[in-house]
Amino acid sequence: MSLIAAPPRLELRGITKRYPSVVANQDIDLVVQPSEIHALLGENGAGKSTLMKIVYGVVKPDTGSVFWNGQAVKIRSPAQARALGIGMVFQHFSLFDTLTVAQNIALALDQKQDMQALSARIVEVSNRYGLPLEPDRLVHLLSVGERQRVEIVRCLLQEPQLLIMDEPTSVLTPQAVRKLFETLRRLAAEGCSILYISHKLDEIRELCHTATVLRGGKVTGMANPQLESSKSLAELMIGKELPAYRRASTRALGEPSLVINDLSRATTDPFGTSLKHVQLSVHAGEIVGIAGVSGNGQQELLYALSGEQPGRREEVLIKGQEAGQLDAAERRSLGLRFVPEERLGRGAVPEMPLELNALLTGYANGLAPKGWIQYAKIREFSKACIERFNVKAGGPQAAAKSLSGGNVQKYIVGRELMLNPQVLIIAQPTWGVDVGAASFIRQTLLDLSQAGVAVLVISEELDELFEICDQIAVIEGGQLSPAKPVAQTSVEEIGLLMGGTRTSHVTEQRVA
């Protein structure tokens, strides 16, 4: 490129940010050139988000300096960042469901807008970058991918010179990811720099020109991702080698342990998804995965399966027994164990110590005989769980909320596994968990299925499902596709199902 003589678009020197309990960023240097797609790679808690918040003016660094196109700047607020030409697309969208696309965009712009002119500009910009949007549509009618387009277009309208994307693909189908990459490449070709935050190594290898790797708040390496393998990038990221999974080649499948029988459930939430005729069997000794873009009925299905929202008796069979009308405790006594996606507040009580959290689902397993809590027993149970599942915690008396997300997850998974499941339902098993712990949890699930437990995994991470599952089904618009053996399907095929007929139908309608 002929731009080498130009100053870097963004340069960070010696950025340090301390929080009361942790140093989020320590002496970080980062250089982003014009037109460059620069990956910021790191595990959860490595300090990526803090660094990006510093660039976007949300957080002030304790020390260090920021240079923008060669000039030293202090970015005091997001408004100032936007004025400089920095745009950011957050991982969690900040859109109002009940407003239109144009209204949402107008809200985020710093000046007052003429709505007519704004709508025209939205159409123009969105078409130029291949992100078709209809300005007058209400946001709650949009698919997740379309909502992300709104966020991106909102940034593009301000003609940014640097676009920060925080884990943009975690909610997209593989096909939507490809479209997004096309847009990002076009933007970069026009001179816009992109800071791309992710822990998905394949994507970074495909898209990015340079990668800066963070670990524990420090820069641990720079790499050209196109020259690295996913394995070598992962090792840079976690600082050690990844263990390979052990799984038996052949396994005897047992009886169906969990059967979902024509489960339909109308949602009461205006933005929820109704379940339609869901049908699935999970046999003892197998792992079945349910893939899907979030918001397609996963929550509703989990509530129906766990017993948090019971329904008709014949909808759910646990080990051959009709259980659809039972509550969560009654289903547990049939051998069902469930690890929800929300760890604090649902899977565990944040304010309570770990030992009392053991009691949450373990009280029927001898921890509180005749309704009286035996503190010695819950302490012992809790200690064993902490040791076996390598939970980093101050001990059984540490409050659940004092643990990091990954360690709470290990504790909850550990608790449920120690309570002898025969059927295990687990949602987003490795969400927010670091790479090392994630591979440990996946291995644990594999071991469990080999021991004859029926495992149902609901995850948004396709790679994960392909790594551990025997069969995969896709949930889309509240409907579940028939489960297919992993060997007989592909990421492509599952991705198409995830996009579903519904989304393409809507798109066609709008184009017409």
Binding site: P340, R346, G347, G371
Partner: protein, 359 residues
């Protein structure tokens, strides 16, 4: 502008200190109020907080007042820990007193106190529980707010009592005053401390205190109710029986209030009249929170609240201040407690206008 910011970790020490801090703030502002009212603050302080308990009799009065407060607060705490908000203990107290008083009037020929008093306490507890079962039923059946229902039933209970003592239960020899006959001596609790009015009702409170202490720490049910209070979704996830908790939470408060009402009519009052309680059922809500829903804290808080009652009476007599002064102090105490509690969880930070607009 000022903004509240979540603290990374609330101080454990301050969680226990904040009731004391609230008390100190109440005293300071109280002194200011006294000064504005034209009273020398030290004399007023002496009249309010020292005078009432500087003799044995006064100390007895303190116990008499703190006993029902602690008893009701313990019962309410069972429900409060599970976010079940029984605001109507005052009404349950009245219904308990009516039930116990009814037994006393009906069995007035029974001379054996060992039979009559236990019967009165059983009736009192049942009366309070009956009144608490109405919000419990409506909540579990129709999902109505137990806060509103229990509160409104206070006024209904008061009217029932009023009707009884104006009508069927009025003392025929009472010169037309709206009050029942005086109870026979077998329906009156014996005095426990010489030279005071402290009666055996105190034992009920002590027993309830021990029972609550054991229940809160070791019972699985209390644990489940605490979970429901702290993290309702976790209670649903664990499959705890929500309806059972609503019933238990409301009935415990109702029973405690009913027992307290019985102690009042079988103790210092000795008959049915209006008022039976100077707002114990409402003050107990403050006691439960100042006491951190913990038995030991509740005992300390009930002593403080009882002192506020006595101080208010003493201030009326000595300083010619209105009776409302007690209420002012109670209100300030709760206000400062809630305020200090907010500051345990959050810190105040000054934020410039510009960054507020942008965020």
């Amino acid at each position: 502008m000022l903004r509240l910011e979540l603290r990374p970790a609330p101080s454990r020490l301050m969680i226990y200190l904040s009731p004391l801090l609230a008390m100190a703030l109440m005293l300071v502002v109280g002194m200011i109020v006294f000064t504005i009212l034209g009273q020398p603050p030290l004399k007023a302080f002496h009249a309010f907080f020292v005078e009432p308990i500087n003799d044995w009799y006064g100390f007895g009065e303190l116990l008499i007042k703190s006993s029902p407060l602690a008893l009701i607060a313990l019962g309410l705490a069972v429900g409060f820990r599970a976010n079940i908000w029984n605001i109507g203990a005052e009404g349950q107290l009245i219904m308990g007193a009516i039930a116990a008083g009814g037994v006393a009037l009906w069995l007035h020929e029974t001379t054996n106190a060992w039979i009559l008093l236990p019967l009165m306490f059983i009736a009192g507890a049942l009366g309070g529980m009956f009144w608490a079962s109405i919000p419990a039923f409506l909540r579990t059946r129709f999902n109505t707010s137990e806060i509103l229902v229990s509160l409104m039933l206070v006024y209904v209970a008061n009217l029932i009592l009023s009707w009884l003592i104006h009508g069927p239960w009025r003392d025929p020899d009472g010169y037309g005053f709206p009050q029942s006959k005086l109870f026979e001596s077998s329906a009156i609790l014996p005095i426990m401390m010489e030279g005071t009015r402290v009666h055996a009702g105190l034992f009920i409170t002590v027993l309830a205190l021990i029972a609550a202490g054991i229940f809160f720490r070791w019972s699985l049910t209390a644990f489940q109710m605490r979970v429901a209070g702290l993290a309702p979704k976790a209670a649903l996830y664990a499959g705890f029986k929500q309806k059972k908790m609503v019933w238990l939470g409301l009935l415990a408060g109702g029973a405690a209030a009913g027992l307290a009402g019985t102690s009042e009519v079988a103790g210092p009052i000795g008959q049915l009249l209006i008022p039976i309680s100077p707002g114990y059922g409402f003050a107990a809500i403050i006691v439960a929170f100042v006491g951190r829903l913990h038995p030991v804290g509740i005992v300390l808080a009930s002593l403080l609240m009882a002192l506020l009652y006595l101080g208010g009476e003493s201030a009326q007599m000595q300083l010619a201040l209105p009776a409302a002064v007690s209420g002012v102090f109670q209100g300030m105490l709760l206000f400062f407690l809630l305020a200090t509690d907010v500051l345990i969880q959050f810190k105040l930070r000054w934020v410039s206008k510009a960054s507020v607009g942008a965020a």
